[in-house]
């Protein structure tokens, strides 16, 4: 099977992506989710309006930050969910489909994030 040897050589890289995504998710997602998902909608704190949000996005650094925040945690999900399916549902024999959907999904999300962050005025 063509994928086997090269696939195993990819494992260290995929694990690195998983770890990087895990670190970003651990440090950054709680505060983002708390503010945007709970504090702002429930009125505990004032949400940034369209102008403030756009002003923040004017800095390229913020766009790069958001790109990393969207991309790497998705690769974290992809790697972890792949193994959850292998071990949890015992469907490792479907590994080609699983790998395609997981890492493909992460790549797709990254592409969408990249496109939007490039094109937002």
């Amino acid at each position: 099977m063509a994928g086997k040897e090269s696939g195993l050589r990819m494992e260290p890289f995929l694990w690195t992506l998983f770890s990087a995504g895990g670190v970003l998710a651990a440090f950054l997602i709680p505060v983002h989710l708390f503010l945007w998902g709970l504090a702002f909608p429930l009125g505990w704190l004032k949400a940034p309006g369209y102008e403030s949000a756009t002003a923040l996005l004017a800095h390229p650094i913020v766009r790069i930050y958001l790109l990393l925040l969207c991309s790497l945690p998705l690769f974290h999900w992809a790697h972890r969910f792949r193994y959850t399916l292998y071990d949890g549902l015992q469907i490792k024999h479907l590994n080609e489909v699983i790998n395609f959907c997981c890492y493909g999904g992460a790549l797709l999300g990254t592409a969408v994030a990249g496109y939007l962050l490039w094109r937002i005025p």
Partner: protein
């Protein structure tokens, strides 16, 4: 392959091993296994956060009206409930990540291994600091 009387497949010199099948619900058999699976499932909520962020970026892309609509969608009680659950799982990811990450690195200072609780405490301190900075930016500081 000679078979003596009794169970089929048994020969005098090669006993039939019994291989206990591993149940699909193996992870329900032990509390530690269940905690592990919950930890792994946090990745789904991490992905959910990214998806909502992408939706928010798309709203920003389409202009002020789309952004306002997105803010309204966030106020939907079902969405808030989902976000509340996600928040719990995402925090569980953070807590378990900090607890485990130091085991992956044997940090040594001047030859002696840095005690794990110190590394974990440093992670939490950094987490507080980073969260504070992000909040400061988002709250218009």
């Amino acid at each position: 392959m000679k078979s003596s009387g009794g169970a089929p497949g048994y020969t005098l010199n090669h006993p039939r091993w019994y291989r206990t099948p591993v149940s699909t619900y193996w992870w329900l058999g032990q509390w530690t296994y269940l905690k592990f699976v919950l930890r792994e499932l946090t990745s789904i909520f991490v992905a959910f956060f990214v998806v909502t962020t992408l939706l928010q970026l798309r709203a920003l892309y389409h202009g002020p009206q789309a952004y306002a609509d997105f803010q309204k969608w966030l106020k939907n009680p079902a969405v808030i409930a989902l976000n509340a659950v996600s928040f719990c799982f995402v925090v569980y990811h953070t807590v378990t990540w900090f607890a485990l990450a130091p085991r992956a690195m044997a940090v040594r200072v001047r030859g002696k291994r840095v005690p794990e609780p110190l590394i974990i405490a440093a992670n939490y301190a950094a987490w507080l600091a980073v969260s504070g900075i992000v909040a400061w930016f988002l709250l218009g500081g």
